[in-house]
């Protein structure tokens, strides 16, 4: 999509987020996007405290979903253990946070640990997996096994001897302080040059912070997948061997993107821990891992925007269903099956491509079939 050299600066910036790997590259889309972001940013002004608090949680889930979308949708690596990185990030934040909140007065290092610990963990596992050329369903199952093993370990840490500094792992009851004199799981407290700002997970500030992080992750990923590295990712997804014959070290590419994805999942986990001041080993079991796959699959795994939309929608639906009593999970099942039957490539992506088609035809009526349109058709 060549931009004229005289194009305004915003347009040029925008161009780096646009490309054939994402749906929604038009000015019209970005206008809608801005409106949506504005609405989200203003949410605390008109919604109740409960809605703001819940929306924070949904945004955190979106980051987790984006992390899976990156490796599954763009690089073809399916992980059935994405929640494991979320959990590792959450625990890392909590453990470092409890130990350092008093001496440091902030949780900067804890947040960093929440990102780096899962990335390092992913580097180990990913190194083993990709360098032994594991692929497809084997990667998926292996990651599920890893997650179940972590869960098995964390569940049996009820014994009071499982402490790391001032943090007691706490088994099924979740992470907490080791003794009465140790501090509780800290809220997110960012410190810079002697100043510390606390973001209570229940407040607006935290919501805005998470929204900011979410936008940054979204734009960052859009930039990444539309860069030349993004093309490489898609090449790996489409044909690993051919990509390799072109001289790329596909194993390194897979490992790199896998670590990045783990870091994002960890970030999401760390934010979750800070949000509710609670982290527990249930997140390592089968259901939470599959839930992430569901968010991504129902949205449309090959598009970032669709994944965000479906994650927000499915989260809202399932928490609403909890008020329905016995039929809540039944209704969720019906929604999933219907969605997958109606749009096997993702409801949001299919709808998006359809709307894009209509609007595009009205606008131009031109015969130039652009790449996004063809992607839309392929979806």
């Amino acid at each position: 999509m060549p931009q004229s050299p005289r194009a305004a600066l915003p347009v040029r910036i925008l161009a780096s987020f646009n490309g054939p790997q994402t749906l929604g590259n038009s000015r019209f889309f970005w206008c809608c996007w801005l409106v949506a972001i504005l609405a989200l940013a203003l949410l605390p002004c008109f919604a109740s405290r409960y809605h703001v608090l819940t929306a924070s949680n949904f945004l955190i889930s979106s980051i987790l979903a984006l992390s899976l979308c990156l490796i599954w949708g763009y690089c073809g690596i399916l992980s059935l253990g994405q929640a494991a990185f979320f959990g590792v990030g959450g625990y890392a934040y909590g453990i470092v946070g409890i130990n350092l909140i008093e001496p440091m007065g902030n949780t900067d290092l804890a947040l960093l640990a929440g990102v780096l610990a899962p990335a390092a963990f992913a580097a180990c596992i990913g190194g083993l997996m990709f360098y032994s050329r594991l692929k497809g369903v084997y990667v998926a199952i292996l990651m599920l096994v890893v997650s179940l093993l972590l869960g098995l370990f964390m569940r049996q840490t009820a014994d009071p001897s499982y402490t790391i500094g001032g943090a007691y792992l706490g088994g099924m009851n979740g992470l907490g302080p080791a003794t009465a004199s140790d501090p509780a799981l800290p809220s997110l407290t960012l410190g810079l040059a002697g100043y510390a700002v606390e973001f209570d997970g229940r407040g607006r500030d935290f919501y805005w912070f998470v929204l900011g992080v979410g936008i940054a992750v979204y734009l960052g990923l859009r930039w990444l997948v539309n860069s030349s590295f993004g093309y490489l990712l898609v090449a790996c997804r489409e044909d690993l061997q051919r990509t390799e014959t072109f001289g790329y070290d596909v194993r390194l590419v897979q490992l790199g993107v896998f670590c990045l994805s783990a870091a994002l999942a960890g970030l999401s986990g760390a934010l979750y821990t800070a949000w509710g001041a609670y982290i527990h080993p249930d997140g390592f079991s089968v259901a939470p891992n599959i839930l992430v796959v569901i968010w991504v699959a129902v949205g449309g795994r090959k598009d970032l925007t669709s994944v965000v939309v479906s994650t927000l929608a499915l989260n809202a639906i399932s928490i609403e269903l909890a008020a329905w009593g016995e039929i809540s999970l039944l209704a969720l099942g019906v929604i999933l099956v219907t969605a997958m039957l109606a749009a096997p490539e993702g409801v949001a992506a299919t709808l998006g491509a359809w709307i894009g088609g209509i609007v595009g035809r009205k606008r131009a009526g031109s015969a130039t079939s652009s790449v996004p349109a063809r992607l839309g058709a392929a979806l």
């Binding site: 369903v137 099942g333 099956v337 997958m340």
Partner: protein
Amino acid sequence: MELSGQIFSWVYQYFDNMAFLLLAASGLILIYGMMGVINMAHGEIMMIGAYIAASAFHAGAPAPVAIVAAGVGAGLAGVVLERLVIRHFYNQLLSSLVVTWGLSLIISQAALLILGPSIMNMPTPFGSFSVGGFSFGVYRMVLFAVAVALIVAVWALFRFTAFGIAARAAMENPRMAAALGVDTKRIYTLTFAIGCALGGIAGGMFAQTATISPFFGQNYTPMAFITVVMGGSANAILGLIYAALYLAGVQTVASNVFNPYVGYVSIMASALIALLVMPAGISDFIQRRRARAMER
């Protein structure tokens, strides 16, 4: 307690562990190994089997009849599922995973709403025998025998019958098979139904040792999956047997030398290691080694 009894106990546990894996996975090998569908609702199919078997048994049917009824009922449920939903997801591993997860929620919750939270299970038959001062339940060995019989039956079905040949042709190359006059849709439906019937029989068998609830099956699915995937698709049936031999061995040794916790962890850890060493499953690994040996 004598040494002979102790040694027999280990052997017994080995077969018991293997029976568990084989039974839980027997239906899945068809559905995953041959059709490329990850059926997360397999546990719910087993639950349907368990409910049918227990109801038939409490209505007065003898246990073997009840279990056959469970197989038939689960098979019919399989036909319905395949016609309505599964057929759209052949060879789409992950979409099938999501859709069958949805199905499993629907089936288990519907069972909860319609049938209530639980029913009485079936008594464990056959009593016990003793070796060297240890006594053992006979039924666990019956489980193993049934598991082996089911696997052999599946193998024979696909190896020797006209249906089996047509089915393998349809899995290998559906278009070619269709061109040669094989009704591939029917073959797929039947294969899925047979997979479900095996699950139903397994459910009926487990109904004699476990409590039955709408969530009865959930606990079998992940382990069954790990076993099937580890076996690999190069030769699904043989792979399953290798995987069960291997995992049950690790579990038996680890839980006797250490404790069941270590046994449970090591079954997972050894699956992990096996997948790393044999990136396309055990059966593929063994086939390749054999091919290499032949070249020499």
